[in-house]
């Protein structure tokens, strides 16, 4: 299989902060329709990898190819336009706007200054927003100010704000943190549904949740890949056990 067959191909990716290598010569390949989960102890560099892909942090070396397009040279909004969406660790939504407006602002139209001034709500956009709201279990809250949503609902809203852009690579940083058991189940269901037709990269700590969604798991440790494979083989890997349980 050549590199161009992957949705995302990361090669020799390195970033160093004043000599400390947070990510060290990382290679990571993600297929179309794949749901990959990245796990690892605190400080392993998981969030940094997402930061590098979406352009929040600039790499020192290496390449990130997304659909044969080099991302390391693009600015943040260009990476989004290329088809990469990223959810932040703490729910990052617009608290002063309603759920509807949150989704509307994220709708990929009228993205330039003058485009946004002339932007009109069409029936098509309304429909799309309704569709997404249904998918993220928020169709009854469209007119509610986003600040009033529960923590779990805010997480869903942010996922919805990404879905409305139809990204081909969706990156989620701890999507079920702070969710109730029922909300976790609903989220797992949601993730399984949305990884059709796109690739999803998830960072998560909750092992039960990981086991329920992951196609393949990558274990990061000190900026390097420690193990990769299905959940069972990774869980039985002695190196992984050592890292997680300590010496």
């Amino acid at each position: 299989m050549s590199i161009s067959d992957y949705t995302l191909a990361i090669e020799d990716l390195t970033v160093s902060f004043d000599g400390f290598k947070a990510v060290d010569a990382l290679n990571l390949y993600i297929d179309k329709n794949e749901l990959r989960v990245v796990i690892g102890p605190n400080g392993a560099g998981k969030t940094t990898v997402l930061d590098l892909i979406c352009g929040k942090t600039r790499s020192t070396e290496g390449s990130i190819m997304f659909k044969n397009q080099e991302l390391t040279k693009l600015s943040e909004h260009e990476i989004v336009h290329a088809g990469v969406g990223r959810k932040f660790q703490t729910p990052s939504i617009y608290e002063n706007l309603t759920v509807f407006e949150n989704l509307e602002v994220s709708y990929p139209e009228g993205r330039s200054v003058f485009g946004s001034l002339g932007f009109k709500r069409t029936a098509e956009i309304d429909e799309r927003i309704m569709e997404i709201a249904k998918e993220i279990f928020l169709e009854e809250f469209l007119d509610m100010e986003a600040a009033l949503l529960s923590h779990g609902q805010k997480q869903w809203l942010e996922i919805g704000m990404l879905l409305i852009q139809e990204p081909e690579l969706l990156m989620l940083d701890e999507p079920v943190a702070g969710m109730s058991v029922k909300e976790r189940e609903q989220t797992a269901e949601l993730l399984k549904r949305i990884c059709e037709g796109r690739s999803v990269l998830v960072i998560e700590h909750d092992m039960d949740f990981v086991a329920s969604i992951a196609h393949k798991v990558t274990v990061l440790h000190q900026g390097k890949i420690l193990a990769e494979g299905d959940m069972e083989s990774v869980q039985n890997d002695p190196a992984v056990i050592e890292v997680y349980l300590g010496h």
Binding site: V80, I93, Y94, N96, V105, S112, S116, M161
Partner: protein, 386 residues
């Protein structure tokens, strides 16, 4: 039709708000004040342009500029240059050693008009310059700061420094700018004497119309997706950036628009007051404009107009009686607004105004109950045949 109703007039509430404001500045104030006081109100209303510009920039955009006086001043100076050239015709300045140039240039041994003054003998060019010069200046500042992601308190400090630099520059280059005295002794606009009573009335109304127009422009911007994006950027800039927007472009645009709005106010100031000086450019006027916006309510295009009027009336009253105390009072007012009613007058109205109206409605309810009871009594009395 729907567009005008929803977007410009802001629905029923917005329409009532703008109608009340228009009634106040078009009818009530002109009828109840003498010309001297009305001219003062006209002057205050030119500051309201800067306050309105701060609603867009600071209230919605979250970008605090402590340099709106720069743009107000640039607009004012552009207008003043035109009026000054017209007032400095060779006949009017025959006693100068170089007739035909502004008097302060002659005093500073200049013998010919500087190149950047010459186009200002054309009125069309001047109007264009009033709008374009401050906007281009704002674009340069905005581009160099927002593209580098300078924001928050750093932006505020830098804009304040720019206000200071510009003041120093104007004061220092006396021969080109009129120095600390500013550009004074302005007389006619295309031959029309702006010092007469009728001209003062006309300019007052032109200013009022422009102010309402600018409020409509603000409404248009804030009710568009652009307005929602401004709020979104103020809240979670990164989320907007990682939703595919080039955040800096939006900030540059709103900064330019706010500069242009302030500049219109500045030009109208020159026309109504009859001079322009560096004391309307520097740090103090710039901060005063922020206070006007804060007191009026930085989220309300209409509220800030009331804020501007109230603070300025207060200033006039207090500075007549306790001139030294005014600045302290103004500082205290600003702190009080920020601490106790962060949404200003508009916020107070929103909070207690609805209570007031519902209270009135309740009283009507009490009345209907009363009539209902008395009707019952009458009916009962009739039934029992008394």
């Amino acid at each position: 039709m729907n567009f005008i109703y929803e977007r410009l007039l802001g629905g029923k509430n917005g329409m009532v708000g703008i109608a009340i404001l228009a009634a106040l500045i078009f009818i009530i104030l002109p009828l109840s004040l003498d010309l001297f006081r009305l001219n003062l109100v006209g002057k205050y209303l030119t500051y309201a342009f800067a306050a309105v510009s701060l609603v867009l920039l600071w209230g919605y955009g979250g970008i605090l500029s402590l340099g709106q006086g720069v743009f107000f001043g640039l607009g004012g100076y552009c207008m003043a240059m035109f009026l000054k050239l017209e007032a400095s015709s060779p006949e009017n300045t025959a006693i100068q050693s170089t007739p035909g140039i502004p008097d302060f240039m002659d005093w500073n041994q200049l013998t010919e008009l500087p190149w950047f003054w010459t186009p200002f003998d054309n009125f069309g060019f001047t109007i264009l310059a009033v709008l374009v010069v401050p906007t281009v200046f704002a674009f340069i500042i905005g581009y160099s700061m927002f593209k580098r992601r300078v924001g928050g308190v750093y932006f505020a400090i830098i804009t304040q420094i720019i206000a200071l630099i510009l003041t120093v520059l104007i004061v220092g280059q006396q021969g080109y700018t009129g120095g600390i005295n500013g550009i004074t002794d302005l007389r006619t606009l295309n031959g029309w004497d702006i010092r007469t009573d009728s001209a003062k009335y006309i300019l007052y109304f032109i200013n009022a119309i422009l102010l309402i127009g600018v409020i409509f422009l603000g409404r248009y911007i804030l009710t568009s997706k652009f307005g929602r994006l401004l709020l979104a950027m103020r809240d979670k800039e990164d989320r907007v950036r990682f939703s595919g927007y080039d955040v800096s472009n939006f900030k540059i645009f709103v900064f330019c628009i706010s500069a242009m709005i302030s500049a219109i106010g500045g030009a109208m100031f020159t026309l109504q007051v009859g001079f322009m000086s560096p004391s309307f450019v520097g740090i103090v006027p710039s901060i005063e404009m922020v206070i006007f916006a804060a007191v009026g309510g930085r989220m309300s295009l209409i509220g800030v107009v009331y804020g501007t009027l109230l603070v300025n009336f207060g200033k006039t009253m207090f500075s007549e009686t306790f001139p030294e105390m005014w600045l302290f009072l103004m500082g205290g007012l600003f702190i009080a607004v920020v601490m106790y009613f962060p949404n200003g007058i508009a916020g107070l109205w929103e909070k207690h105004g609805t209570k007031l109206t519902s209270c009135i409605k309740k009283m009507q309810c009490v009345d209907t109950v009363k009539t209902y009871i008395s009707n019952k009594r009458v009916a009962k009395a009739e039934a029992t045949g008394e």
